[in-house]
């Protein structure tokens, strides 16, 4: 398996990037975060319609593009670079993978075109290495509450791990309450089922969360790249003490180190598209902190402007910090390596 990007992947990247450049500049993301619709469904529909990202991981026989995690990872990179508020990870990766693993084809056909959006109802902070909280059923209906779910408020279809496997519930049958979120570009919600009708479509395994963590590493790479590029441009422009601040060695060395971290994150994230346990754990343990560090360095090296609401760097910091917790913390992934790599405690 190559760690480079193929020509097809570069074409996909270019398409996603140019659409986002037009439709999702930082100012637009910022303008949306405190609105009633933090997720940008219009953008999501165009990404689905024009580029087919909603059905990327869905096999062709179910109406999707039949692509692999390699291509999905490139989309994640670009969405991370733009902190795009779209439900790609929640619908086209997590819910889709859960349905695929369960062998449920009917809902997939609805998802492939992007007309229907789904969401995997697990806490975004759930670790792939621990038991996922499942919703219990009482007679023929679901009862229970799941907190910290991403993408729920824009989902039509809820994909829910229940004690008998994986269930599908129409979103209208649940109560979905958005929560005030650290990452306002991918806010969380509380999902409550009160005697909700459901249908079990197959089994559920936390491998889905591992796949999500493997692709999240590419989003973290995209975040880190934006932070590095933006900061390098800023320090070349900003002058103090009659010179560009980027000519001070204290700043140059920090950015050189950050560049090295990004180079490593790129190799690790590319390797993680295999979704193999070791590759995912390594990438998740490495890329999460790199994205956070990149955003923190970006903020510091912008000085006062970096601390303002107006400048987009905080969107990246918040996304990076939330991503570090999502789908297993770096510590969870390192702990998993103790058995995966035979380094027992």
């Amino acid at each position: 398996m190559s760690l480079l990007y193929s020509d097809v992947e570069e074409e996909l990247r270019a398409a996603v990037r140019s659409l986002l450049a037009d439709a999702c500049p930082p100012s637009a993301v910022l303008g949306r975060v405190e609105s009633a619709e933090p997720y940008d469904l219009g953008l999501w529909k165009s990404l689905a319609r024009d580029i087919g990202v909603a059905g990327l991981l869905i096999p062709e026989e179910h109406g999707g593009a039949g692509a692999t995690p390699r291509e999905a990872a490139v989309v994640m990179e670009e969405l991370g670079r733009a902190v795009a508020p779209v439900p790609f990870l929640s619908s086209a990766v997590l819910a889709t993978r859960a349905l695929l693993d369960a062998g449920a084809s009917a809902p997939l056909e609805r998802l492939a075109s992007g007309e229907t959006t789904a969401c995997l109802v697990v806490p975004f902070a759930a670790s792939p290495y621990a038991d996922v909280p499942v919703v219990s059923h009482d007679g023929g209906a679901l009862t229970g509450t799941v907190r910290g779910v991403v993408g729920a408020e824009v989902a039509d279809l809820l994909v829910v791990p229940v004690d008998e496997g994986l269930a599908v519930v129409e979103a209208s049958a649940a109560e979905i309450v958005p929560a005030v979120s650290l990452d306002q570009t991918r806010p969380i919600a509380t999902v409550t089922f009160n005697d909700a009708a459901y249908e079990v479509v197959g089994g559920f395994s936390p491998d889905v969360l591992r796949a999500g963590a493997g692709l999240l590493a590419s989003e973290q790479l995209g975040i880190a790249e934006w932070c590095l590029t933006t900061t390098v441009a800023y320090v070349k422009e900003r002058r103090q003490f009659a010179r560009q601040i980027g000519s001070f060695q204290a700043i140059k060395h920090r950015l050189a180190d950050l560049w090295l971290e990004v180079v490593g994150a790129r190799a690790a994230a590319r390797n993680a598209v295999s979704l193999e346990p070791q590759a995912v754990a390594v990438a998740a343990a490495y890329c999460g902190p790199v994205a956070v560090h990149a955003a923190e360095e970006a903020l510091q090296l912008h000085g006062g402007i970096g601390m303002t609401w107006e400048h987009p760097v905080h969107l990246y910091l918040k996304r990076a910090k939330a991503d570090e917790i999502a789908l297993g913390t770096p510590g969870d992934h390192r702990a998993a390596l103790a058995s995966i790599a035979d380094l027992p405690a």
């Binding site: 140059k252 950015l255 050189a256 027992p344």
Partner: protein, 381 residues
């Protein structure tokens, strides 16, 4: 004939029990370094194809690359880029077979990171040059046949301009090599005094006054060679094995650090794999300049971890040895820890490498310079 067939035919028709004969024939067959031109040990193929040859030749006599690393990694690419046809023919074959060992006569007491400030003088005398000066930290000078040498030939122009590059004959009269003992107890490196050393003009590499450009080629290759990492076994696997073998020494705090280091090591390995893929695809990325820095940091952290994990208060051997290779694997943890300290100094310090990444990769401005346009002889020292 494809490369695999060529290797197999070579193996079928040569006798590996004659080590030197084997290596010479392998060079002559173009199977030494396939990315070199035909007639000079190669076949003019891409660098990535060398892996095919190495796989096919595994188990046959090799040229002990650790012992001749300076020749392979630094002298050879420089000779290839700047040497005359005669120089390439004369030097590359015995360099590759290991019959002639090379050393690097760059650093001086007054010129380390700022190599371009060096003062070893070479003065022309007819068809010869007379060299006077002192070099320092010269690894392997005590068993070297040749040295790559940078000298000052014109003190009246700014420092980057007045340099000339030579191949130094280490057996010439006036070359004196004295051991310098290192923190490990041994003496890999030396001071080299050059007193009235006469070098014929045909040992000059590149044009008179063009020594800085030639030296840049050497230094670029040096960093790639060092960053390519250890040949036999990685430091990460040494440490992981120690961990597995000694459950009685483990603690939760060490476990946390081990896992973190192991992830860093794995990411560095993947970075190197990706870099090699880029090279093989003909798109060498700027990532190469970072590998040596990553390697140095990781080596130091891992080796420091290992000493602490083993709770090792002893040391294997302080005698002043004169080793021919740097052997991280064959020695004990304390040696690895101490020797790894040199990794962030030799071949360009980590600070200098950060400057290079910042300026050449990220395009950040250099710091204000006071020495660029001043004739070398007028520089403050």
């Amino acid at each position: 004939m494809d490369l695999v067939e060529r290797c197999r035919e070579f193996r079928a028709t040569h006798d590996p029990s004659d080590r030197l004969g084997w290596l010479r024939a392998r060079f002559d067959a173009g199977l030494a370094w396939v990315h070199y031109p035909e007639g000079l040990g190669g076949l003019g193929l891409s660098r990535g194809m060398q892996a095919v040859v190495e796989a096919e030749m595994s188990g046959t006599p090799d040229n002990d690359p650790g012992r001749i690393g300076i020749g392979l990694g630094m002298a050879a690419p420089t000779i290839l880029a700047f040497g005359t046809d005669e120089q390439k023919r004369r030097f590359l074959r015995p360099l590759w077979t290991g019959e002639e060992v090379w050393c690097q006569l760059f650093s001086e007491p007054g010129a380390g990171s700022d190599l371009a400030t060096l003062g070893t003088r070479a003065v022309r005398d007819g068809d010869e040059w007379v060299v006077d000066g002192q070099k320092v930290w010269t690894s392997g000078a005590h068993h070297a046949r040749w040295g790559i040498l940078v000298t000052r030939t014109d003190p009246d122009v700014p420092k980057h301009q007045g340099m000339t590059y030579f191949v130094a004959d280490m057996h010439a009269p006036g070359v004196e090599v004295r051991p310098l003992r290192q923190i490990t107890g041994e003496a890999e490196f030396n001071e080299v005094f050059l007193t009235g050393v006469r070098l014929p003009d045909d040992l000059r590499l590149g044009a008179v006054g063009d020594g800085w450009r030639v030296a840049q080629t050497t230094l670029m290759n040096e960093r790639v060679a060092i960053g390519a990492g250890p040949a036999r076994r990685s430091m990460a696997s040494i440490v992981a094995d120690a961990w597995r073998e000694h459950p009685e020494l483990r603690s939760p705090a060490m476990h946390q650090r081990l896992l973190k280091l192991w992830v860093d090591a794995e990411v560095m390995r993947l970075t190197a794999v990706r870099l090699r893929e880029q090279l093989a695809a003909g798109h060498p990325g700027p990532e190469g300049s970072g590998m040596k820095l990553l390697f140095a940091r990781l080596h130091q952290e891992l080796s420091g971890f290992e000493v602490e994990f083993r709770r090792e208060l002893g040391y294997d051997d302080w005698t002043l040895r004169r080793p021919e290779t740097v052997d991280f694997v064959g020695r004990e943890a304390g040696y690895r820890y101490l020797r790894a300290k040199g990794n962030s100094i030799e071949g360009g310090t980590s600070e200098i490498l950060r400057n290079i990444i910042a300026e050449r990769v990220l395009g950040l401005p250099s710091e204000p310079r006071v020495d660029k346009d001043v004739p070398w002889k007028d520089l403050p020292r």
